[in-house]
């Protein structure tokens, strides 16, 4: 911070220029845990299951894990957006089921081509989001209530759309291909290398610009370390997945959504306004931000992403049925966001928490199925892990309050 360093008499609350490690430690102590609890939980879970069953960290199982995570993770991305706003969407599970049902009925019973049916399914989600968002913003009904009504109502719509037959099989190659396609190693590594190059270029150019503008910028060796870690993570992941059937397209779709919405949230005016509304809606309104437009759009996005997740579920099961989108889908999606470190109280969190949290939850279910424990244990373990992660978040919040940050 050399730019403001005209050395005024230091005030009591001014922090000394902290070193990198010191800054990190201080952030931890003040409760800015970020993704740390989730990463820790993930490491513990993986270690425990690997000990219990040596197949857990096999390429085949990790490939399964990625495919299993895709649908819930995608839905959870939308949940993160809603949580950032300080709202809730309880209808995402049913919306995912209904959208997938619309897609399937159009494709199977009306002979609409797969890609068109997929788009129609996604549009169904968007329309539902528009309706719910309109209701919330126009009439000022709390989102909890509107989406709770949605949770019940869209279930009815799902039953109606599926009609008398109950379960409908999907045979369309495009729809099934969403989760049934695995990228060849060449394509997989190509995408991985491209991602690393773009990431590195972005970091380096950003750093150059900051330096040129006379702003504090990370030293080049720290950038190199970051790029190295990301490159290693990406390439190892691709290597492991390629040792099985290749990178699952579904996993790529999830990561694509996460990256896209992460960029939107962090790098665009829209994302900035989203955080502002979640942090202090009145302040946002006074700053001239159309709070209702932001709210409405976020509910549209959440339902649209729910629809995408529902389509991935259907693609994986080759079918939709009356229980599509029911059961644990909603709870998993919300838990994923929270375990990943997104606050339930609005304004804090990252889109990546959807991915991370979904991995944690799915790892538990995956591992427990692998050792075929009874569902009694499964539910209790899942509950305990969620409680653990959210408790860390709550303790962190206390830390923030103690240090005057919340």
């Amino acid at each position: 911070m050399s730019t403001v360093a005209d050395k005024p008499p230091a005030l009591a609350e001014d922090e000394d220029q902290p070193g990198f490690a010191l800054q990190a430690w201080r952030r931890l102590r003040q409760g800015e845990l970020g993704p740390l609890p989730a990463l820790l939980a993930l490491a513990l879970i993986w270690a425990a299951f690997q000990i219990a069953n040596p197949n857990f960290l096999s390429p085949r199982n990790l490939s399964n894990l990625v495919s299993q995570t895709a649908a819930v993770g995608t839905i959870s991305v939308g949940v993160v957006l809603v949580l950032l706003l300080g709202e809730i969407d309880l209808s995402v599970g049913q919306v995912s089921g209904l959208s997938a049902a619309v897609m399937t009925v159009l494709n199977v019973q009306h002979g609409i081509p797969g890609p068109v049916a997929i788009i129609a399914g996604i549009m169904t989600g968007a329309l539902i989001g528009l309706l719910q968002g309109f209701w919330i913003t126009r009439f000022g009904v709390p989102s909890f209530i509107v989406t709770l009504a949605g949770l019940i109502g869209w279930q009815g719509a799902l039953l109606y759309v599926l009609g008398q037959t109950g379960t409908i099989n999907i045979n369309d190659p495009v729809i099934i291909g969403l989760t049934g396609t695995f990228l060849s190693p060449v394509v997989g590594y190509g995408i991985g290398v491209l991602a690393v190059v773009v990431y590195a270029a972005n970091l380096v150019i950003g750093q150059r610009r900051r330096r040129a503008a006379g702003l504090e910028a990370a030293p080049i060796n720290r950038l190199a370390v970051r790029i190295g870690i990301v490159a290693a993570a990406i390439l190892v992941a691709i290597g492991v997945l390629s040792a099985d059937r290749g990178v699952p397209l579904a996993g790529l779709i999830l990561v694509g959504f996460v990256v896209l919405f992460d960029l939107i949230v962090r790098r665009t005016t829209y994302g900035r306004h989203l955080f502002a509304v979640g942090g202090n809606a009145e302040a946002a309104r006074r700053a001239g931000i159309s709070v209702n437009t932001i709210r409405l759009s976020v509910f549209v996005l959440a339902s649209t992403l729910a629809a995408c997740g529902g389509i991935l579920f259907a693609s994986r099961l080759f079918a939709v049925n009356y229980s599509s989108g029911g059961g644990d889908v909603l709870i998993d999606a919300i838990a994923a966001a929270v375990i990943g470190g997104t606050s339930l109280f609005g304004g804090r969190g990252t889109v990546w928490s959807a991915l991370l949290g979904a991995f944690v939850i799915q790892s538990i279910e995956n591992g427990l199925d692998l050792i075929a424990l009874p569902s009694t244990v499964k539910y209790m373990v899942t509950g305990a892990v969620m409680l653990f992660a959210v408790t860390l978040d709550a303790i962190a919040r206390q830390g923030r309050q103690a240090s005057g940050r919340a």
């Binding site: 069953n53 197949n55 096999s58 085949r60 199982n61 399964n64 495919s67 299993q68 199977v108 019973q109 002979g111 009439f139 039953l159 599926l162 009609g163 008398q164 037959t165 109950g166 379960t167 409908i168 099989n169 045979n171 989760t179 049934g180 059937r245 579920f313 994986r316 099961l317 080759f318 079918a319 049925n321 009356y322 229980s323 599509s324 029911g326 059961g327 279910e365 995956n366 199925d369 692998l370 050792i371 075929a372 009874p374 569902s375 009694t376 539910y379």
Partner: protein, 360 residues
């Protein structure tokens, strides 16, 4: 504010119109014959059969037997306390016979006892009401037999394989019938096959079944000779998991319920069998039982002296036989009964399979 009030008004008027219209349908006509109210309580709406098969079949049969009778209907959506409330409402409305498919067999005993106090006979429909003497009839399929049927079929499909490995995907651990299916299957399979992995599937969720099967395949390195799936939904989940994992050819997979999707999978060679429980006789005979109780209140001849012990009493029972359906007898069972028509089954990619199975 004003707009909101108008909106509420319009919404309430719409609601009233719907209620009036639905009441209008059940008004009695002036002709002679027996009359009275009969209550039908079904447990849930997520499984296709209750709303699309049981209810209309029961309604039509009752109308044929007794044009002046009124049917009161309600669905508990898988909530036993909701069902209790619905039953109390029906008793208050003066039903003469209660046909009850309990969400939970044990807690439904309270409903049966209450009905008895008011002199209303109770038919336990499809699922058994447990631990009460106040059940007049029980009509269902022999559920332990369902599991045996599935197990026997699977053994047939496995043929001469020595010591085959199978995966068992059972139903909802909270469902009493699921327990019976599981016991029945074990009684046939144990000792003849190696059960490598076994799962209970909460809520009968096909997605969960998919995950369970995927994990079993990982643990077993894709080496599976057969899959016991308790119903068609979980069977579908297991099949999609095997296709994703690249298992080829697919091993035999069992099922139950004769869902349309399962029939189509059977014709396409993906699923080996399903258990067809002919809902038509079940619903129609339940209507007959209800009508008998309404008119004479005496024991029906339909039971043939059979009883089922519910923990407290031996309940006179009508037990129907489940049928195993494979590719070979789809035509002579579900199609012949009109359970599913050719138009239902033979759509899109299934036309060729239909022709091959002689459905045309």
């Amino acid at each position: 504010m004003h707009k909101l009030r108008t909106l509420t008004l319009v919404a309430s008027m719409g609601l009233i119109a719907v209620i009036v219209a639905s009441c209008g349908g059940s008004s009695t006509t002036g002709s002679t014959g027996p009359s009275g109210k009969i209550g039908l309580l079904l447990p849930e709406s997520k499984t296709a059969r209750y709303e699309t098969k049981d209810r209309p079949l029961f309604t039509n049969k009752l109308k044929a037997l007794c044009p002046n009778c009124t049917l009161l209907y309600n669905n508990a959506n898988q909530d036993s306390s909701v069902q209790q409330t619905q039953a109390e409402a029906m008793l208050t409305n003066g039903v003469k016979v209660l046909v009850l498919d309990p969400v939970d067999g044990k807690s439904a005993a309270a409903i049966a006892d209450k009905a008895k106090q008011q002199g209303v006979p109770v038919v336990s429909y499809d699922r058994l009401i447990l631990n009460t003497a106040n059940v007049n009839f029980y009509i269902s399929f022999d559920n332990a037999k369902v599991g045996q049927l599935q197990g026997t079929s699977l053994l047939t499909a496995l043929g001469s394989k020595t010591n085959p490995s199978i995966v068992m995907i059972n139903g909802d651990p909270a469902d009493n019938n699921a327990k019976l299916f599981k016991q029945g299957a074990h009684s046939v399979l144990d000792g003849k096959v190696q059960i490598k992995k076994e799962y209970d599937t909460p809520s009968w969720s096909p997605d969960k079944a998919h995950d369970e099967m995927a994990q079993a395949l990982t643990a077993l390195g894709n080496k599976v000779d057969g899959v016991y799936a308790a119903n068609d939904g979980t069977g579908g989940g297991a099949i999609s998991a095997m296709v994703s994992a690249g298992v080829n050819p697919l091993p035999p997979v069992t099922g139950q319920d004769a869902e349309l999707a399962a029939i189509q999978r059977i014709l396409a060679g993906q699923q080996y069998m399903t258990v067809y429980k002919a809902i038509v006789p079940e619903a129609e005979q339940a209507a007959q039982l209800a009508f008998d109780l309404l008119t004479s209140a005496s024991a029906s001849s339909m039971t043939n002296g059979k009883t089922t012990n519910n923990g407290t009493a031996d309940v006179p029972s009508v037990l129907l036989n489940p049928v195993a359906v494979t590719k070979d007898n789809v035509k002579t069972t579900v199609v012949a009964d009109g359970f599913w028509t050719k138009a239902d089954i033979c759509t899109g990619t299934y036309v060729a399979a239909c022709t091959a199975a002689g459905i045309n």
